[in-house]
């Protein structure tokens, strides 16, 4: 990994970790995106419940669907972030 001390003192890029600053911001978003995905699933399940009056099952399935959607988004974003060229470390 290219360490901070490998650069001369005037030219050190500001890195908080192995990712670029914009990607750090995207990473902080991932938690809320997961929560909103689950909430959306719950909302969809609630709507199905009111439509078809299948008392808890709509919301339960909505929770699971939302959970799956959230995990899908999380894994896809993480993969994209770690595979991006500018994030790859020089070995």
């Amino acid at each position: 990994m290219t360490k901070k001390k490998d650069f001369p003192k005037e030219k050190r890029p500001i890195r908080l970790g192995p990712f670029s600053p914009q990607d750090h911001l995207v990473i902080t978003t991932l938690g809320l995106e997961f929560a909103v995905a689950v909430a959306l699933g719950v909302g969809g399940g609630f709507w199905i419940d009111t439509r078809f009056s299948s008392a808890p099952w709509g919301m339960v399935s909505g929770v699971f669907c939302g959970f799956a959607l959230g995990m899908y988004i999380l894994i896809k974003e993480s993969r994209r972030l770690s595979q991006e060229e500018k994030n790859k470390e020089q070995k």
Partner: protein, 253 residues
């Protein structure tokens, strides 16, 4: 004292019920505040770009150019690339609008429009529209539709992946709105609650109320500074994330 009435008065929106020939015009307290903030923003922006040779005009021009340069080199070009300069006016306005709205909420009798889910939803919808518009401009309409499905997925996965990707874009836009709304709302609720603690305790006994004023005011001052920081931060995060999403859509190939 009626705590719920105070909270409702300060946090919730109040519709004035203006009707124009059967149409319910959305004239609310928050909407009027938004109009005032827009006028102030217009005045400030025209001040920053004033023409003239006096020292004040040159100072204003320098500040304006510095701001535009900050937006362009810090937010638009790292997110979208060189072709993003076409969208620079949108981002400049977005940042200043959210910033002014957040800061206006800290002024004692003013309302915080960004603690209204409708307002932040509207802003997020504008950013979502910009994302779709940039995608269509970069790839064409069918190219934009096709960019939702990553290259090289087997044909039987496409009916599953396409709705997931569309919902993913929808969730991104919703998260933009919810983040700003939740931060502003929670901040103002805490600010209000800390002051209400004094009055609630004061209702039980006046001396305890006066005694509770000191820690409550200390926390209140601390929370006000935190809210100041959060105001700037949330404006910056909203703008930067919009530019990142536009960049992801434009460079999706």
């Amino acid at each position: 004292m009626d705590v719920s009435h105070t909270i409702a008065h300060h946090i919730l929106d109040h519709d004035f019920g203006v009707m124009l020939g059967g149409f319910h015009l959305p004239v609310t307290a928050h909407t009027l505040t938004m109009l005032g903030i827009s006028i102030v923003l217009l005045a400030v922006a025209m001040l920053l770009s004033m023409k003239g040779k006096s020292l004040f005009a040159r100072l204003m021009n320098t500040i304006g150019e510095e701001y535009v340069s900050f937006m362009r080199d810090g937010i638009v070009i790292p997110g979208i690339g060189k072709e993003g300069v076409a969208f620079l006016p949108y981002f400049c306005t977005l940042f200043l609008f959210i910033l002014f709205s957040n800061l206006a909420g800290l002024i004692p009798q003013m309302k915080t429009i960004t603690s209204n889910i409708s307002v932040t939803g509207g802003l997020a919808l504008c950013s979502g529209g910009l994302i779709v518009y940039a995608g269509i401009q970069a790839h064409g309409f069918w190219g934009f539709i096709k960019s939702f499905v990553p290259g090289g997925t087997p044909w039987w996965l496409i009916p599953l992946m396409f709705p997931l990707e569309v919902i993913s874009l929808l969730i991104r836009v919703c998260v933009l709105a919810i983040r700003l709304f939740a931060n502003m709302l929670s901040g103002h609720m805490v600010l209000l609650s800390l002051l209400l603690i004094i009055f609630i305790i004061g209702q039980m006994s006046k001396i305890a109320g006066v005694g509770a004023a000191f820690p409550a005011m200390g926390l209140e001052i601390f929370m006000t500074f935190l809210e100041l920081l959060v105001a700037f931060l949330q404006a910056y995060v909203f703008t930067l994330l919009t530019s990142i999403y536009v960049g992801l859509v434009v460079h999706s190939h």
